[in-house]
Symmetry: C2
């Protein structure tokens, strides 16, 4: 399958590498196709992938992972272009991190709006699915790093798109279907993005980003 | 032990009833000591407790549970009075819910501040511990309603106060010490309060408020 990964940061890197490893044709989208980060990644996968501009990459894939830096996601997606993204599934992975006030980061948008919603509003023809934004990238692509049951949250307005994303995340990354919780429409991004505030503090308290949460049902 | 519970809503009700049941002297604090909610609660515990004004109740207890409605917590605590609360442990349970824009609720403060911090700033001599605000009140007072391991987050500036609160929550409500995660200082309230945004959506997706999360550590 032809898959686009927008963003050459740690998250884009991890997802793109895993997709190459499981046999897909991957094009990574970057602001600067000759950037050190992009070229280093290309070497790390033995050149078995491509790097293009955001627009070239968006045109290439059947499914698009948006792993751009949260604060710049809308700008990057505008460069990717509505026509190139038209009717495609866009898995929106980033959180709208604001590190301008130091650590831990706060969010540039939250509470009564979210980045998932902003992206869906700006690109009404794109099938936006917010997913993978509640955990470290090592666990996104290899959930077996955390033992037993632990959960992934997805949301979006397009039921068929969510079904496909859930199925692909199981197939490509090894998630168990029962551990993927569909929260509902894209406004639920507020919930998963605001979890960042607890997540970063748990990282501090536990001393590792390698954890996830499991929702345990009671009686 | 003499314990104060401020607030006659569902949460105050659940906590106060449990404390009476395990043998403590409880005074519930209310804006109106003759309110129907308060009187009904008093009948439900066969009159084995007291109801007072916020100030009377704050003066009564050795430990204070603040279960007031989030939007009104600061006003209620001002009525309770800094002198009555002086040097006491205040377990701050509420979330700063804003239901003015409909459901699901948003927060009146978040991201770069929190209710826990607001209360601590307003009452610098009070030993504020934010706790219990990430789950339904039935589970707060009876964690065995959710099977296996699931976690409670506490934070606050006073290490000794947090240690006592953790110990009391185990003793009174049945929490396991290993399931209480100390996140650090009171600014970590941002994390646990903002979790509300995910919690309300999980309630919707699961169809029950009777769940909790377990933090699963990986490798």
């Amino acid at each position: 399958m032809k898959i686009t990964v927008l963003g050459t940061g740690m998250v884009g890197n991890a997802i793109a590498s895993k997709l190459v490893k499981v046999g897909h044709q991957v094009m990574m989208g970057s602001r600067n196709t000759n950037s050190d980060a992009g070229q280093e990644w290309l070497r790390s996968v033995d050149g078995k992938a491509q790097i293009g501009t955001f627009a070239e990459a968006a045109a290439f894939g059947e499914i698009v992972f948006d792993c751009t830096n949260g604060a710049n996601s809308l700008a990057a997606l505008r460069q990717a272009g509505a026509t190139n993204l038209h009717a495609k599934i866009l898995i929106q992975v980033g959180n709208p991190l604001d590190t301008s006030k130091g650590m831990p980061p706060s969010l540039t948008v939250c509470n009564t709006d979210s980045q998932g919603e902003q992206v869906q509003r700006e690109f009404p023809d794109v099938r936006v699915v917010k997913a993978l934004n509640t955990l470290n990238c090592d666990i996104m692509i290899d959930p077996s790093r955390v033992p037993g049951d632990h959960d992934l949250f997805i949301c979006g307005n397009d039921t068929e798109a969510k079904r496909e994303v859930a199925s692909r995340l199981c197939e490509w990354f090894g998630w168990k279907p029962n551990n993927i919780i569909d929260l509902g429409d894209i406004s639920n991004s507020r919930g998963t993005e605001m979890f960042l505030a607890l997540w970063v503090r748990l990282w501090g308290a536990l001393g590792t980003p390698h954890f996830n949460i499991h929702v345990v049902r009671g009686k």
